[in-house]
Amino acid sequence: MISERAQLLLNLADDELILGWRNSEWTGIAPFLEEDVAFSSIAQNEIGHARALYERAARDLGGDADSIAFDREPEEYRCAPLVQLRLVPDWARTIARHVLYETADAIRIERLKQHDDGELAGIAAKIEREEVYHRLHAEMWLERLREEERYTDAVEELWPYALGVLEPGLRPVLAERVGHEEVDAVERTAPGAEFVALWEEMTMVRRSAPVGAQW
């Protein structure tokens, strides 16, 4: 049984790693060149956050960031279903997820900054400084797409998933910020088939190398 602190770190880290992975699926095929670079860079930041979180989790669980990120079985991951969805090549749904995730993540990070555990509070503050720009990026797209039907449909579709990013106590805050009624959330459980395909690809190189290989 892992500690509550380690589980908290893993939930967060898995979200960031898998969202970073999904967003990086746009690299090379984003709607235009500038956005391609910007969105890829955000994806890279998310994976950087995951790394920092896994490193801290590794102090509790043993191993290192790579072993926690890549050596678990698919059913051991606890990322929110929102970040698992493969959304390429649908930009409207991708932006809807981006906006919803960043809004939910902001609430979670604000809360974590107040955590009694100084180390957790510290890493939250560090992540927050980069997330500010992710939110600016999400908001500028929101401003442009908020009236578009494809976008509003996507928000409706993803809303129960967005609630599932947060623990139940924080969901009313998200509902208020997004201006949506709280509904039954799609909860964190063992991931589904779409995730397994991602995991296969993500861990392929790691699994092909002998244990203990240095990169």
């Binding site: 235009f32 060149l33 500038e34 670079v37 910007a38 860079s41 720009y133 600016l136 990026h137 908001e139 500028m140 401003e143 442009r144």
Partner: protein, 106 residues
């Protein structure tokens, strides 16, 4: 819409043209400029300017070869030499040439 970016590497230094990119409005331009020109802390400040706001001037006629007006265009070296030859004061002229600034020496 095309935006031109001028970046400053250190406080107090002049802004230097960094490049350009497409963005539909100021908000997008802000985000992309940060990503392209400041993500690795390579700039301390950016000027992001719509290309249309730049008044470009590219033609500077010089029909009468008034090169003495140019900062580097008027070398007195050759003329000094001729003058020296005429006056027969080569040695003294050499001393004068030594006192000239590097650009005047040609």
């Amino acid at each position: 819409m095309i935006w031109e970016v001028f970046r400053q590497e250190r406080k107090g230094q002049p802004f230097v043209h960094g490049g350009s990119f497409h963005a539909p409005d100021k908000e997008f331009a802000d985000a992309y400029a940060r990503e392209f020109y400041a993500r690795r802390q390579e700039s301390v400040a950016l000027w992001v300017v719509p290309r249309d706001a730049i008044h470009a001037i590219e033609e500077f006629p010089d029909e009468f070869d008034l090169k003495y007006r140019r900062v580097d265009g008027y070398s007195i070296k050759a003329r000094l030499k001729e003058a020296r030859a005429r006056a027969g004061t080569a040695q003294r002229a050499d001393a004068e040439t030594d006192a000239l600034s590097p650009s005047e020496r040609g």
